[in-house]
């Protein structure tokens, strides 16, 4: 047992030395991850900070002026043009100068003053459905706040039921708050899987694998020796993302580090397991790399990071259950934002453990049987 541990440690040390000695390899493990965290933290946001709109108002009454002032006062809506004709409004949308058009009919102020309902027309550029619906949502919020205000100011009773909105764990609904913790798993996956996949293929290519196989090291020890450094590097990368989230983006961490790292450990183990299966399948480093990238894309797209899993077709939803990234993102976001404990995370933890057990056993079996 002790010799076994010593052999695994020697293998792991050798693997790490090879990475640490190569300054370029070391940089390529850390710099891209940190850079991507920063870039995605800023760029990958669903929040609209700038909604260019065109105003087509045929009413210069008090109510219309107040409504327009509300739009301009949000800081989000930016008026790019004020037009007098419908044709010009159409052109502004067509030419993508404006995302939204607000049309106010001539009798808007008159009807409101008379205590009758009035209409406001909102036109959105549906060529990007996501942005359009977000912009429409914002506009509706502005209008309902205008309504409430108007009623109060004119002594009218408020609506019978009023909506009180509170977004838990992310009060301002900033998408960066869930995006950046989601990156902890996403950015770690690639290199953890790749390192494991390439490690054996590299030895096969350079002929050192035979040398390894004639030593008393057992196949399971080789696997452990390959898995440990990849896991260690994966955890280091995850820590890098976590540090950027806290120190740079200042996203408050609600949970326990022990729970987060426990979950991450299971995740990198699963990722390494998948990597080792790929590695057992491939003869060359090129194959190992190709296989890793083939898997990486579906893993990322079907992880729930960018599109909700609940919206996917049922078959794909089943696929996501085999995707370790899905669980890692869930764990990271929930520990980070909601402070979830182990009990709440069990539905994420046991599938990761299962993936790890299945892939590692498969890889170990394949290594033993590929020798023949």
């Amino acid at each position: 047992m002790l010799t076994s541990i010593a052999r695994v440690a020697a293998l792991a040390r050798k693997e790490l030395l090879a990475v640490l000695k190569d300054r370029r390899a070391l940089l390529s493990l850390l710099v891209p991850v940190l850079a991507q965290t920063l870039v995605f933290g800023y760029a990958a946001s669903y929040d609209l900070n700038q909604v260019p709109y065109v105003l087509w108002s045929r009413d210069s009454g008090e109510a219309a002026t107040a409504l327009i002032a509300r739009f301009d006062g949000t800081g989000i809506f930016r008026r790019v043009a004020t037009v007098a004709r419908e044709r010009d409004m159409r052109a502004a949308i067509d030419e993508r100068r404006a995302l939204l058009a607000i049309g106010i009919p001539p009798d808007f102020s008159r009807r409101l003053a008379a205590g009758r309902p009035a209409e406001v027309q909102l036109i959105a550029d549906g060529r990007n459905s996501n942005t359009a619906s977000t912009a429409l949502g914002y506009a509706q919020a502005v209008i309902s706040s205008f309504n409430a205000h108007w009623r109060a100011a004119h002594g009218e009773p408020g609506p019978p039921a009023r909506l009180t909105e509170r977004a838990w764990y992310n009060p301002n609904l900033l998408s960066r708050w869930d995006m950046v913790p989601g990156l902890i798993g996403t950015l770690t996956l690639l290199q953890t899987m790749l390192l494991a996949a390439m490690s054996v293929a590299r030895e096969r290519e350079q002929g050192t694998f035979d040398q390894l196989l004639v030593t008393p090291i057992r196949p399971a020890e080789i696997m452990a020796g390959k898995a440990l450094p990849a896991m260690l590097i994966g955890i280091a990368q995850a820590t890098g993302v976590l540090l950027v989230a806290q120190l740079w983006f200042r996203i408050p961490f609600e949970g326990s580090f022990a729970v987060l790292y426990g979950g991450l450990l299971l995740f990198v183990l699963a990722a390494v397991g998948i990597g080792l299966v790929l590695s057992a399948l491939s003869y060359t480093m090129q194959q190992a790399m190709l296989y890793s990238f083939v898997l990486l894309m579906p893993f990322t797209l079907l992880s729930g990071l960018t599109t909700p899993i609940a919206n996917m077709p049922r078959v794909l939803q089943y696929f996501t259950r085999m995707n370790p990234l899905r669980y890692a993102i869930d764990i990271a976001q929930r520990v980070y934002l909601e402070g979830a404990g182990v009990r709440l995370l069990l539905p994420d933890l046991w599938p990761l453990a299962l993936i790890a057990v299945v892939t590692l056993s498969a890889a170990s079996w394949m290594f033993r049987h590929r020798l023949q």
């Binding site: 052999r7 440690a9 040390r13 050798k14 090879a18 050192t208 035979d210 390894l212 004639v214 023949q372």
Partner: protein, 581 residues
Amino acid sequence: MNSPPPAALLECREVHKSFGPRTPALAGVSLAVSAGGLNALIGPDGAGKTTLMRLICGLLTAERGTVRVLGFDPVRAAQRIQERVSYMPQKFGLYEDLTVRENLDLYADLHGVSAAQRAQRYPQLLHMTDLRRFEGRLAGRLSGGMKQKLGLACTLVSSPQLLLLDEPTVGVDPLSRRELWQIVHHLVRDEGLTVLMSTAYLDEAERADRVIVLQSGRVLAEGAPQGITRLAAGRTFKLTPAAPESARTLQARLLASSTVIDAVPDAGAVRCVCAQPDGAAPAGSTPVAPRFEDGFMVLLRQRSVPEALTDILLAHPPAAASGAVIEVRDLVKRFGAFTAVDRVSFTVGRGEIFGLLGPNGAGKTTTFRMLCGLLAPSGGVLRVGGLDVARAGDAARGQLGYVAQKFSLYGPLTARENLEFFASAYGLRGAARRARIDWAMRQFELLEARGAAADLPGGFKQRLAMAAALLHEPRILFLDEPTSGADPLARRAFWRRISALADQGVTVVVTTHFMQEAEYCDHIVIMDAGRVLAQGTPAQVRALAPRHGLVEPTMEDAFIAVVERARAAEAAAPAAPAGAA
């Protein structure tokens, strides 16, 4: 040595080239090669042979000095040089997924060879290389020797005036090597081509018209091979070992003497070269005519301090054992319908050096891999150290040492870190581990090895690989083509270590392409097409070669005779199962 020939086809004057801050690869090389003839470029590993070739064909630029090829500067007149000079590097770029014909077409296209020229050139090339039968075969499925021949054909499609060959026969078995030589000779004699060829085989250099000896980036000697052979005149002797002593131990004894420059086992006896001409000849020796190799050794010893070689000493030599250490009976390995190893049987005793010889694709690597437990046999009995390697697991592997063909080391790690890893892999710990690593660093002269293993010179890599395989003092040592590509000096040092190990009881199994090296073995097996064609002591196997007059046949003659005889028999009666000799 001679006056410079007129009308030099190739001329180098005071050429310097270095890579990084290390010692220069070339430090003032001047030489001239006249048109026509075969010029051999020889010298130890790292002497600058490849660098010189690459400078000549314009792939590198010289720091100082001038290179003139056919009157052109190879860098400035690159286009002209490429039209007239062909270069075949050590690893020729064949496209393995293309057929023989497609490879030829590709190189013809690259050189802009017209259809008319092709129609005339292809039949010549295919006839010369005997590849016509394989025109439609994928290059990746050719044997090593055939690949080299195809590489040669591809470099010749453009009908060059000067042909540069960088160690074309490394890793090629004697049969293919002989064929390659016939082709090169034909090119030089009948087509008037000028060839500059680097080689690690001194017997090849002897057949050249001119020899250029490089060492440490300088030209040590230049001229006809006979001139170098003459350096050993009156210094060469032959000794026959007295009954209990083997040729190998006699050789070791001779090498230890300060009056002897070189000693090699040769056809059951030992040839030695003395330090002084006509000086004190070793007792009981008879003078023999010098060979090129003898002269070469004298030349190297004149210029460099001999390597102070301490004989390797094991702290715990393997205990005496009765019976066979390795036992192989009716060993079979099938890959699908193909039988790679067909009922092979042999035994190896303790402290024996056992050689596995055979052409490329003979099944010796497959046999070797089964012995090491890297491949499971399809049938037969295989016992190594009394255990079934494939099943006994790590306990059996703990008593094996293994040196793979390409010296499998971890490139980014230093020599010591490599040793530390392998020591732990073999379960060594603490003080014992440190002691063994220190022992290995000293015994294999690795103390001055600096930096990553990948950047070490070839000789260091080979020693490091050996050291790594011996850290755990294995009872059995497996060596797969350990001397492939090594220069004569490194090969001698290697065999001296192996002999010392065997004398202390280590059982050694080795595969080799160098037939001369079979003389170091106690027993050899010659394999072809998966079967054992001949086995016995080197003398017994040598006796299988036809005798021509008084000249003692060499191991190479025997090898070629045995393999050709077996192939002829196979062709005559394809269905009859051939029994092992």
